[in-house]
Amino acid sequence: MSLTSIPTIETRRLVLRGPTPEDYPDFKATFSSYRSRFMGGPLNKYEAWMLYAAEIGHWQVRGFGMWMIHDKISETTLGMAGGWFPAAWPEREIAWIIWPDKAGHGYALEATHAARRYFYTQQGWDGAVSYIDPKNLDSIRLAERLGAIKDKDATTIDGNDAVYRHPSPERLKSGQIADGIELEINHYCDPLFKPKGMPLD
């Protein structure tokens, strides 16, 4: 058997693992909610299950795919991030989704930065794009924080998405973008300004 064994990636706060059947309820909760409105949702239970099966199958067919993002300490799932390249996609995509109640902690930034680095350094990718619904302002903002730039000339999936082009491995290596991302992640991990307790009066 030459099954693709899905690599595990560790970051400061996160562990990225392949999606397993046990993680499905967390995936289903988000994809049957309004949170998934920019990713083809909300889905009914059949559609959600079929998409999750496709997420797992994608790893075997393509040799890469979307990881499940876990909190390193609690192992709780937080969302998914990784690569996505079904047949209709013009280019390989880097994608992410964070469960609605886990947003706002920089998890997508930390996970996607690590996933992109893995594709660039371990799988030889020379670039990637993200296809984003123009109304999905949070994702556009994240693409920009990752150093991606809107590419007006690139082919879209179906005309309803904007293409954000990620910095090439060379550009990412040169420092400023990666340093900025890591600074931001570090700030999420260890905020510079913390409340020092309630004032006494």
Partner: protein, 189 residues
């Protein structure tokens, strides 16, 4: 190249094995054929058809079973798919079959489906199986009946809409003396 841990099953003329990359294009061609795939659930475009291939691989990883590819022993060609299907929202695990263009009228679907059913009963331990058939799919109804299945009820399928549920004979009805569907006793390797 294996994409699943599916076993390899044999019949007189066929090999049933897990989906492999060489099956992608025949599968996509079938799913895009709106007439031939109407009873199965045709795909509106290539992207959706590819996704079905990937999710069948995922189905194997989640359940440990799914659709086998049917390979012709003589030519090595992929002639169709047959296996056990059970996505969320399905009424019960289903025995399904599809034969690709050019492989019809040779009893391939029956030979493959009977072998997949025996696998489900004898190796996976299923005690019953159903087949979901859209009304008007007379060829599939005829095959279900040749396999010994009978009409049980109508219901609303989450994907296909109004649907007919056929019930297969159980393992006790089929394998009382550990015999094959063709009546001959088979040695187990």
């Amino acid at each position: 190249m294996s994409l699943t841990q599916a076993p390899i099953l044999e019949t007189e003329r066929l090999i049933l094995r897990g989906p492999e990359p060489r099956d992608i294009e025949p599968m996509i061609a079938f799913l895009l054929d709106q007439n031939r795939a109407s009873g199965f659930g045709a795909a509106p475009n290539r992207g959706e058809a590819w996704r079905w291939f990937a999710l069948n691989v995922g189905h194997w990883h989640i359940h440990g079973y799914g659709y086998f590819s049917i390979e012709m022993k003589d030519s090595g060609e992929t002639a169709g798919i047959s296996g056990i299907w059970n996505p969320e929202g399905w009424p019960e695990p289903e025995l399904g079959w599809v034969v690709f263009d050019g492989f019809e009228g040779k009893g391939i679907a029956q030979e493959a489906a009977a072998r997949a059913r025996r696998y489900a009963y004898q190796d996976l331990g299923f005690t019953t199986l159903t087949s979901n058939i859209v009304p008007g799919n007379t060829r599939s109804i005829a095959l279900a009946e040749r396999l010994g299945a009978w009409f049980e009820r109508e219901y609303e399928n989450v994907h296909m809409g109004h649907d007919l549920l056929y019930r297969h004979p159980g393992p006790g009805d089929l394998f009382e003396d550990d015999a094959d569907d063709d009546g001959s006793v088979e040695a187990y390797a």
